[in-house]
């Protein structure tokens, strides 16, 4: 489509006066600025941006999965710290990635803002004067006519106005001339597109600064409130203060997963009730693709699993019921899950603690004493558990995962195995000290996520503007037509020279010849009319030109 470079001002010649040091620095800066805002630099920066994104997809990223990064560190113990020093596990928040896109956007500003201003002026200015040599334009022709100069220009002006060109006539150095232009929307689209990219970046940045996100596993019957202390994991932008969090609490009443015959999950739905501030609780249902949206916050169900339930009866008759903890699915296709239930307050003593670690199968099958799961649906829930008693070390000050036991407590003999068993729902086991542990059933849990991104709507608006600008830039043709009249070389009549310059279309030839033909017909028509004794007689040259204008 376009093969011409955008017009760029050439560097003004440096003044011949002796250059001071200050001026030299200024010149150097100006030269850098010009270089940075050159199209070629933008192109290189675009390539760099594409290249820089590649390691972010090939290496594990902290923002996606801390676990995968940890695994990479264990697998490549020597290489990983080096990669980490280069921010290769945080590519998209690394200084070098930021440097590339910031440079690109500075280049964009330097390139597009002057263009936008120039275009703003052009919108209200007449089309530019005709170039001196019309025959050097990509499309051009000359039409001889018997009409006088001004009348000839009248004819082509009419043709162009019908085609919705903006037309201006001037007295040029080599005779009366005409400039016409249409397709201003192309440049408008270009400016809109590039400026919207900037707006999009600002929206993204704002979202990162003021946005936050927290995730938590919630078992049926339980809930959470929107505060960083409650989340299992959270991330927040640097400008988020914990007082800014919306006062929202969510309870999970019921969770359902539905499966197709081939056991792919067809839908998850969570019945929740939520409370915003002191308002009344509202019941609603959310699911995959249907988050709860309130006031700039969104609550999602991002996954699900099972929380096996146990009850414990001590020898003195005290009974603890409805003890449950989420077991994390290890295999999403069968929902075979692993986890641990920690019971720190079984008795008065610090070492009167118990943990049930094990494996949960929603549909269990025992093969040679080993429990496996064969179906993600809870058709025959079973567990394979090891029960430990002793001291869990929860208050030791060291952080512990809620989904696994602290192995060092076992190694140090503070936590000892008190029994192991495979249990179906309702079955019990008795520990050495007489304590009875019953696998009483299960509840489902939902992985829930609360997200807050104030830049989101802004980004959507900017993305739409990007698209609109792009369509304008790529679909609209900008056409300029210039015409000039001069005396015919043999002295009789006038020669009309026409030239045109189109951006944004490949087949300019046919369109230009259609215009030229139309003008030729109209000229002949006009000559006939002015020379015919009866000016109202129908023309021998066909219908009036206006009526056969091809769709442009």
């Amino acid at each position: 489509m376009t093969t011409t470079a955008p017009p760029r001002a050439t560097a003004p010649a440096t003044p011949p006066s002796p250059t001071s040091a200050g001026r030299r620095v200024l010149n150097r800066l100006l030269r850098w600025w010009r270089q940075l805002t050159a199209m070629r630099t933008a192109l290189i920066l675009l390539f760099l941006l594409a290249l820089a994104a590649i390691p972010g997809s090939l290496l594990p990223q902290r923002s996606l999965s801390q676990n995968n990064v940890n695994k990479y560190f264990t697998d490549h113990a020597t290489l990983a710290p080096w990669l980490d020093r280069l921010y290769l596990f945080d590519v998209f928040s690394s200084p070098w990635f930021a440097a590339i896109y910031l440079l690109l956007f500075i280049s964009l500003i330097g390139c597009v803002v002057p263009r936008a201003i120039e275009h703003g002026r052009a919108l209200f200015a007449p089309p530019p004067p005709a170039p001196r040599h019309l025959h050097r334009l990509p499309e051009n022709t000359e039409l001889p006519t018997a009409l006088a100069g001004p009348a000839t220009l009248d004819v082509i002006e009419e043709e162009l106005r019908v085609r919705r060109f903006r037309v201006v006539r001037r007295e040029g150095r080599s005779g009366p001339e005409l400039s016409a232009e249409k397709g201003y929307l192309r440049e408008t689209g270009n400016v809109l597109f590039h400026l919207s990219l900037l707006a999009l970046l600002l929206g993204l940045a704002g979202g990162k600064m003021w946005g936050y996100e927290g995730s938590i596993l919630v078992t049926e019957g339980q809930g959470f409130c929107n505060s960083f202390q409650q989340y299992d994991t959270y991330s927040a932008g640097p400008l988020v203060a914990s007082g800014d969090l919306a006062p929202l609490c969510v309870d999970l009443d019921d969770f359902k997963a539905q499966y197709e015959q081939n056991l792919t999950a067809s839908s998850y739905t969570a019945d929740i009730s939520y409370q915003l501030g002191g308002a009344d609780a509202v019941d609603t249902t959310i699911g995959v693709n249907h988050p709860l949206r309130i006031d700039g916050d969104r609550v999602y169900v991002t996954g699900h699993g099972y929380s096996p339930e146990f009850s414990i009866t001590r020898t003195d008759g005290t009974t603890f019921t409805d003890l449950s903890a989420p077991f994390l699915p290890a295999d999403p296709s069968t929902m075979a899950s692993q986890g641990v239930l920690k019971v720190p307050d079984l008795g008065a003593g610090a070492t009167d603690q118990l943990a049930i670690e094990g494996f949960f199968a929603p549909t269990g099958v025992l093969q040679g004493g080993v429990l496996t799961s064969v179906d993600p649906r809870p058709l025959d829930p079973q567990v394979a558990v090891v029960v430990y008693t002793g001291y869990l070390g929860l208050d030791s000050g060291l952080p512990q995962s809620v989904y696994s036991l602290d192995q060092t407590q076992i190694d140090r003999g503070l936590l000892t195995e008190a029994g192991r068993a495979n249990l179906a729902a309702g079955e019990s086991m008795t520990l050495a000290d007489g304590t009875v542990v019953t696998f009483s059933g299960y509840k489902e849990f939902a992985a829930m996520q609360l997200s807050h991104d104030p830049g989101q709507l802004w980004v959507l608006g900017a993305a739409m503007a990007v698209l609109v600008g792009l369509l304008g830039m790529l679909l609209v043709r900008r056409e300029r037509v210039f015409a000039r009249v001069g005396p015919a070389p043999d002295g009789g009549g006038t020669v009309l020279s026409i030239g045109s310059l189109t951006r944004g279309s490949a087949d300019t030839g046919p369109r230009f010849s259609a215009l030229a033909d139309q003008v030729r017909t109209a000229l002949a028509d006009r000559v006939d009319r002015s020379s015919a004794p009866d000016a109202t007689a129908p023309s021998a040259h066909g219908p009036a030109p206006e009526k056969e204008i091809p769709p442009s």
């Binding site: 489509m1 376009t2 093969t3 011409t4 470079a5 955008p6 199209m39 070629r40 933008a42 192109l43 675009l46 390539f47 941006l49 594409a50 994104a53 590649i54 972010g56 997809s57 090939l58 990223q61 923002s63 996606l64 590519v91 998209f92 993204l204 996100e213 197709e260 081939n262 792919t264 999950a265 067809s266 839908s267 998850y268 995959v288 693709n289 249907h290 988050p291 969104r298 999602y300 991002t302 996520q449 997200s451 991104d453 989101q456 980004v459 959507l460 993305a463 739409m464 990007v466 698209l467 792009l470 369509l471 790529l474 490949a506």
Partner: protein
């Protein structure tokens, strides 16, 4: 519920399409071969007539007149292509009806649809500008190769969608991604042919071109370059829209509109490369061959995104059935 007879029909149509396209490739190649014979004879005459300075290559968009036999072969090839196209569309229609959903829920279906769009794009181009018919062998050759690979390695039987894929935005996002990809496919091939042909034209101008070459029968370098650019210009807004629609869908399915998931990252890379291609075309020093290379890189990125990212790396983008 899966209708197994429709699913089987879809599989048969796939095979039939591959056979028809292969026959079309044979016919296109024969057309090039026969066309060559006349062209070679003529260039021989020219040289014999003692005009070494005038290259026998038309620099315009029209090809030298074809022998009637070559033209007949070309028409047969086009006919085979169109029939293959109908059968190819049938593959997806039957799948969609069998599973009662949009037929692009896994990589097999996605790949098949992309190739369909590529063939449609080629057919439209060839019908509008008959010169472009001559790139048929080079479009349908890769098409046949792609379909064989898709059939061998990506095949997944008709089945229901995983939960995250059941959204209205699936239709919008995946449909536009398929359209964009298919169009970029044709654009990339045009650029590859441009690279070959422009080298050949340089040689002809220097008088060092080999005596016979299929390149002689290709459209002019200028026409190929223009085709590549116009298709990319057509594909770019579609791809942009696909990325935006994907972000809108991700926002409701995954809790964020953009998270640099590998698939998202590569979609972004492809977008940047195509933006670079469009810029390169208007940047002095990058016009012609360098910008054509950028377009080829763009297509490579798209293919890499489909194959590597779906099959090797793990991300949220799940396509059921490929393991």
């Amino acid at each position: 519920m899966i209708d197994s007879s429709l699913a089987a029909l879809s599989d048969h149509l796939f095979t039939i399409s591959v056979v028809l396209y292969s026959l079309a490739v044979v016919a296109f190649c024969a057309e090039l071969a026969f066309g060559n014979r006349t062209a070679r004879a003529r260039s021989g005459e020219l040289v014999g007539a003692g005009a070494p300075g005038t290259p026998p290559v038309s620099t315009g968009d029209e090809l030298p007149a074809e022998s009637p036999r070559a033209r007949r072969l070309g028409v047969v090839a086009m006919g085979l292509t169109v029939v293959g196209l109908v059968s190819h569309a049938g593959v997806l229609v039957a799948r969609g009806l069998a599973a009662n959903r949009l037929p692009w829920g896994n990589m097999y279906e996605f790949g098949t649809a992309v190739v369909l769009v590529a063939v449609v794009a080629y057919t439209v181009l060839a019908l509008r500008a008959p010169v472009l018919r001559h790139i048929g062998a080079f479009v349908l050759g890769p098409v046949v190769l792609a379909m064989v690979l898709i059939g061998l390695f990506l095949y997944a039987s008709a089945g229901p969608l995983v939960a995250a894929l059941r959204s209205w935005w699936l239709g919008v996002h995946v449909t536009t991604a398929i359209l964009g990809f298919g169009i970029f496919f044709v654009s990339g091939i045009a650029s590859v042919l441009y690279l070959l042909r422009s080298r050949y034209e340089q040689k002809v101008a220097a008088g060092t071109a080999g005596s016979s070459s299929f390149l002689e029968r290709l459209p002019s370098a200028a026409a190929l370059d223009r085709t590549a650019h116009r298709t990319a210009v057509f594909g770019f807004p579609i791809w942009t829209f696909a990325v935006i629609a994907g972000a809108i869908w991700a926002e409701s399915a995954w809790g964020r509109f953009w998270g640099w998931d590998p698939k998202e990252t590569w979609a972004f890379i492809a977008w940047v490369v195509y933006a670079a291609y469009l810029h390169a075309r208007t940047t002095s020093g990058w016009r012609g061959r360098p910008s054509a290379w950028v377009n080829v890189v763009g297509l490579t990125v798209m293919v890499f995104n489909l194959l590597y990212v779906n099959m090797v790396s793990t991300g949220l983008h799940s396509y059921a059935g490929v393991s």
